[in-house]
Symmetry: C2
DNA sequence: GATTTATGCGAATGATCATTCTCAATTTAT
DNA sequence: ATAAATTGAGAATGATCATTCGCATAAATC
């Protein structure tokens, strides 16, 4: 007994679930699948989770699920892309305006906070492990990282040009190091280990200051 | 046609492969299996690699392989423990003697160099991802990390007591941050991405100095 | 030399895997 | 109203999975 509930024409406009056009409903189903798949992947890993488990989690038959994704690999790729994109957004928003070190610290803390609250650390660890052997996943990671890298690079290069900072090394070294640092913080979720946010910020600020060496000529307070 | 080559009694003492007692031969087989399994796990992940693939890699039948390990899980645990132990050794050896910052930087660089040369980054990423959902693996990671943590803690606390350094925050914050940093560097293998070792050391030294805040009262040069 | 034990092979096992197929119900288009 | 297209269920598919079994051979012990 299928469940194609409600909405026979215009009457459904009064439903709490708003108007569901063909494509809207499809997008909702895709979202439901990705959400359930993420749950399964966090629980068992990309390879460990089975399509049957994902089907159970969504409440959908295999035949139905395959109407939305052509393969398990496609689901993994979609989840990876969505996760990396959301993760990159945390950075891109916070690199603009304000003091260089402040921006750096704010971005780092926002990232730490997001990772802690979303509970996405296991998913990130899984994605990163998969990226070491799966070219499609590696590509997705590199793509989203390139955006972050570009933002940070222009952000920092601008500060260097304006004489606000005098980095302890070239940006081609500092940026990969900071990315690595961020990834380490991401998979470790220090707040979950009992590390205090404020003490954490003190250490991160010290690190940012040491690496960027602000000259005191900053335009911001 | 089994392959129980050579060594019928004492004659084997002249073999190039030295004397192989019962337990010695067994240890060699175990080592061969772990080596082959590691290859497979790096290639396909813990869940992605099959026992048949491991058998092919070792050149051994399933029946024979199961004489040495009771399950796939047992192999994964053995590999994890060996990898974490070897990784921890890199640190424990280098925390003693010399200037505090020098020791810190030396340990970090040794770790980076080891990760780069051993090519163990993918295995580490896999182990870390698995540790998020497998309690046995998580335990193994925490155990080996505890040794490193203890070494560093006593090392740094001693320096603090002697007035050599004045950390920018308490050790309970600095240590987790440094561990996270190290893990980030481990999975990223920056030298493989073209980052120069010497420039890398400059940045790491700046970070170590900033976090530890040496007072100049160091006993070493 | 005979017996016990350790080690090996390779086929077999039942479970589970990703995916496909058939068909029914529903929605949209005509 | 009717036809076409979409979406669903659920059984079936063949492959592959981790693991086991029976049996043969080699080594160790007696």
């Amino acid at each position: 007994m299928p469940v194609f509930h409600s909405s026979a024409g215009e009457a459904a406009l009064l439903d709490t679930e708003a108007a569901t056009s063909r494509t809207e409903r499809r997008d909702q189903q895709v979202a439901r699948i990705l959400d359930a798949a993420k749950t399964c992947f966090v629980r068992s890993g990309f390879q460990g989770a089975s399509m049957q488990q994902i089907c159970s989690e969504v409440g959908m038959s295999p035949g139905a699920l395959y109407r939305y994704f052509p393969s398990k690999e496609a689901i993994i790729e979609a989840i990876t892309e969505a996760d990396r994109r959301r993760d990159a957004e945390i950075f891109s928003v916070l690199t603009l305006g304000g003091d260089v070190v402040d921006g750096f610290v704010a971005a780092a803390m926002a990232h730490i906070r997001y990772m802690h609250e979303s509970g996405n650390a296991p998913l990130f660890a899984e994605i990163r492990a998969e990226s070491m052997r799966n070219d499609a996943i590696d590509f997705a990671c590199k793509m989203s990282m390139k955006d972050v890298d570009d933002s940070f690079r222009s952000f920092l290069r601008g500060a260097v040009d304006r004489g606000e900072i005098d980095p302890c090394a070239d940006l081609d070294t500092i940026l990969p190091v900071m990315v690595a640092f961020g990834e380490g913080l991401a998979i470790n979720d220090l707040p979950a280990q009992g590390v205090d946010f404020e003490r954490l910020e003190v250490v991160i600020r010290a690190i940012a200051t040491a690496v960027l060496r602000p000259t005191g000529r900053s335009t911001a307070s």
